[in-house]
């Protein structure tokens, strides 16, 4: 054993390695990405690791491994689970031989997601047991327990952490590689009555799953991480708090000596009913401190009904806890004060704070495209080419969603991975006079853009597909994908060509252009958008975070006429006002020398940049740009 300062996701990864995981697959997505990256980095050499093309593929690859008796882990964020839900729903009916953990990172807030869905609820829906860790150190232990549990009961299990556990850091006591469990898969054993899903098998296994999950309620009541804290409970206590995940930690730190019976639920499904009955015994009221869905609140309300208990269950459904958003120390502290009364002692108050007068207007900082980002140039070219025309710009999931911000204003819709293509098609069928554009990144194109493109082509859509190819999965920290020619295990492999895929579908017009060449880009967009049917432009220029700048642009103050066009139209963070407050100036610490502003300046006052066509350095890619 040794101690390491670990991010929650790193701890989960090392826990999986300690549990003898044989295969790990996944698709990147905040806040889950670092789990798979850490496995790849700390691979003792015998673990197969892949970034899959999407979560569905990842789920299927992991299931195949688990069919052989291997221990398998598949990682994704909560919206990725929607993509993977088709195989998972059926997999629960089939079951697994080796332990299989489905790691899903939920994102209360949401800080970096489209939805605030709760994988605990998905557990109930899919009948898959759920583990919900409360801290970094616990996550390390719990994922090992999850593998054992999965194997013992022959079911995939969810390991569901939230952002504050995934991206929290703590010093954790971890095993040395020599102490890792070694799992030797037996191999796949043919048995059509077990591995082939047919209605007859489904109905048989459905009954078995219901029976097993009912029994697991008792089994999990004895799981030590489902617990009732005795130390904070006085004699004759009539009030209880039921909580989970990192909210358990917020609760402990917010009690400040106030007394209550506290129950922590580590496995929200199947719900530890026997333990809950013990918890409810003698209580008048319970406050459920939860994030996302009121899972514990509903379970306790149900138990009270089932056993005729007169305990008032409070939480999100009664307005005592906010129905949405991420909880904080203040939210939990205030809810506890409402429920339990003021603190008796003079301990620090987490519901108070420094009482200050209203500050001056704080800076507004929505996230923006980086200085020099090639997406800015692509958006600007399309905007310039389509000026005066009726258009719709359907965006997608990735850095380029940030194209929605002023002054670009180039993202009219954004729904989910790959959806922009279908939406552009749908709008076009109803509004034939609108020029419909779908913007999709390279990784997103592979993940879920190809079937949509075939759909649009086959069904005679009229639209322009714009692939923003920056040769990486940028938003999540530069993971490889089929177009990069590398795998996460470091192999150099044959690239999948986006152009060839599009031509193979049947598209007649597929043009590739460097977006940093402004004039050529505008001409290309004008020409391609006028073609009939589905046509494509691939804007190809590497992400600035994975390519080194060759020079910076600078503004010649003698030539600058202070028209402000560069600042106003591009919204590049490196373009700022100079000392006089009128003329433009370039912050060289940010400028990448992309030259877009140079090409735009009406008086050619900006120079010195150097368009970046540097080959993408392979070795830096794993580090990514996310850790600054």
């Amino acid at each position: 054993m040794h101690k390491e300062f670990l991010m929650g996701n790193e701890a989960i990864a090392l826990g999986a390695l300690a549990a003898g995981v044989n295969l790990v697959s996944g698709y990147p997505g905040t806040p889950s990405t670092e789990v798979l990256e850490t496995i790849a980095k700390r691979n003792p050499g015998n673990v197969y690791v892949e970034w899959s093309i999407n979560e569905k593929a990842g789920m299927e690859v992991a299931a195949g491994a688990a069919y052989t008796g291997a221990r398998a882990l598949v990682t994704m964020k909560q919206v990725g689970l929607n993509v993977a839900s088709d195989p998972l729903m059926s997999l629960e009916y089939i079951g697994v031989k080796g332990g299989m953990v489905v790691l899903v990172a939920d994102d209360p807030g949401p800080i970096s997601s489209q939805t605030e869905q709760d994988t605990r609820t998905f557990g109930m829906f899919s009948k898959v047991p759920v583990f919900d860790p409360a801290s970094v150190a616990e996550a390390y232990e719990m994922i090992q327990e999850a593998f054992d549990f999965s194997e013992k009961y022959g079911t995939p299990v969810f390991f569901r952490a939230t952002t504050r556990v995934d991206h929290g850091y703590e010093a954790v006591e971890v095993k040395d590689p020599a102490e890792y469990y070694v799992n030797k898969p037996e191999g796949f054993v043919k048995d059509p009555s077990r591995w082939v899903i047919f209605p007859r098998l489904s109905v048989k296994n459905h009954a078995l799953i219901e029976k097993r999950n009912a029994e697991l309620k008792d089994v999990l009541s004895d799981y030590p991480r489902n617990q009732i804290l005795k130390e904070v409970e006085p004699a004759g206590c009539r009030k209880g708090i039921a909580t989970h995940g990192v909210n358990f930690m917020y609760t402990l730190d917010s009690l400040h000596g106030r007394n209550a019976r506290v129950m922590r639920v580590a496995t929200p499904f199947p719900f530890p009913e026997k333990l809950a009955l013990e918890f409810l015994e003698g209580l008048d009221e319970v406050l459920c401190v939860e994030e996302l869905d009121p899972v514990i609140e509903r379970a306790l309300t149900f138990i009270c009904g089932k056993y005729g208990l007169k305990v008032k269950i409070r939480g999100k459904l009664t307005g005592d806890i906010p129905p949405s958003g991420e909880n904080s120390m203040e939210i939990v502290g205030n809810a506890l004060t409402q429920f339990l009364g003021e603190t008796a002692g003079n301990g620090a108050q987490s519901d108070g704070g420094n009482v200050l007068p209203q500050p001056p207007a704080l800076p507004v900082r929505p996230p923006v495209l980086c200085a020099g980002c090639p997406h800015r140039a692509s958006f600007y070219a399309v905007k310039a080419a389509m000026r005066g025309k009726k258009t719709i710009y359907c965006g997608d999931i990735g850095c380029y969603t940030l194209g929605n911000a002023a002054p670009l204003d180039m993202c009219d819709t954004c729904l989910c991975m790959g959806a922009g293509i279908g939406i552009a098609q749908g709008v076009g069928h109803i509004e034939p006079d609108t020029k419909c554009f779908a913007f999709v990144g390279d990784s997103t194109f592979f993940a879920s853009g190809i079937t949509e493109t075939i759909n649009a082509f086959y069904n005679q859509a009229d639209m322009t597909l714009v692939v923003l190819d920056n040769s990486t999965t940028a938003m999540t920290g530069h993971q490889p994908h089929p177009g990069t020619g590398r795998t996460v295990m470091g192999q150099i492999v044959e690239k999948v060509s986006i152009e060839k895929v599009l031509r193979a579908i049947g598209l007649k017009v597929v043009e590739t252009v460097d977006p940093l060449d402004y004039t050529l880009s505008v001409e290309t967009v004008k020409r391609v958008a006028d073609e009939p049917g589905v046509k494509a432009i691939i804007f190809r220029s590497p992400c600035i975070a994975i390519s080194k700048p060759k020079g910076h642009s600078h503004v010649d103050p003698d030539k600058c006429i202070a028209c402000g066009k560069c600042i106003r139209e591009l919204g590049c963070p490196a373009l700022i006002l100079g000392e006089d407050g009128k003329k433009a100036k370039i912050d060289t610490s940010m400028c990448t020398g992309c030259t877009l502003c140079e090409q735009l300046c009406p008086v050619k006052a900006i120079s010195g940049g150097n368009k970046n066509d540097t080959a993408i350095p392979g070795e830096d890619l794993q580090k990514g740009g996310r850790h600054e």
């Binding site: 800080i111 504050r164 730190d253 620090a348 420094n354 200050l356 007068p357 002023a406 700022i576």
Partner: protein, 190 residues
């Protein structure tokens, strides 16, 4: 010893490395430490923060309002944003250099950084303002602002670590060729 610290700034300013240096120093001294950071979309020029909790007796990675001993602010406006977390008598170290948001540059919002510094002066007794432009000029690099601020934080007495602890952490985490620069940055505010 227990200390609650917030580091705050704008994505890309190096708050995560600074937080990592403090954590490394604490680890080396066997001081329990927990942190929570902003990772993801906000790193693209958005407001970012790290919560650090040093010492025994805490469970939550997030700190409550009014519980922070020290705010290390990489940017004036972001420091004001975090001020409600500071406890009475807590210390603030702030870089004087504003980062203008794009929304303000294109006239969609306003940002008066001088007013932020004035506000801090009026409401924080234990305030250290670090002249970031001067530091960058004298050190020949703007990239070590994070370590300059750590040095100033050290001298506020609220970091709970010694200069030697931080020097060791810099040695562990910073590439050899930047070591001298970072050591100079650490002692710049002396």
């Amino acid at each position: 010893m227990s200390k609650n610290i917030i580091l705050c700034g704008v994505g890309g300013q190096g708050t995560i490395l600074a937080s990592r240096l403090i954590a490394t120093a604490a680890m080396d001294r066997n001081i329990p430490i927990k942190t929570a950071e902003t990772i993801g979309m906000a790193q693209r020029g958005g407001s970012v923060f790290s919560h650090l909790r040093l010492g025994e007796g805490t469970n939550s990675p997030l700190i409550g309002k009014g519980e922070v001993d020290l705010i290390i602010g990489f940017e004036p406006g972001e420091t004001v944003r975090q001020l409600p977390f500071l406890k009475k008598g807590g210390a603030v170290v702030v870089s004087s250099r504003p980062v203008m948001p794009v929304s303000a540059m294109i006239g969609q919002s306003s940002y008066d950084a001088d007013a932020m510094i004035e506000y801090l002066k009026a409401h924080v007794e234990r305030l250290t303002i670090v002249d970031a432009d001067k530091a960058a000029e004298e050190l020949g690099s703007a990239k070590v602002l994070n370590v300059v601020l750590l040095g100033a934080a050290l001298r506020s007495g609220e970091l709970g670590l010694s200069e030697e602890d931080l020097e060791n952490a810099v040695r562990e985490k910073v590439p050899e060729k930047f070591l001298e620069l970072n050591k100079k940055a650490l002692s710049w505010s002396k």
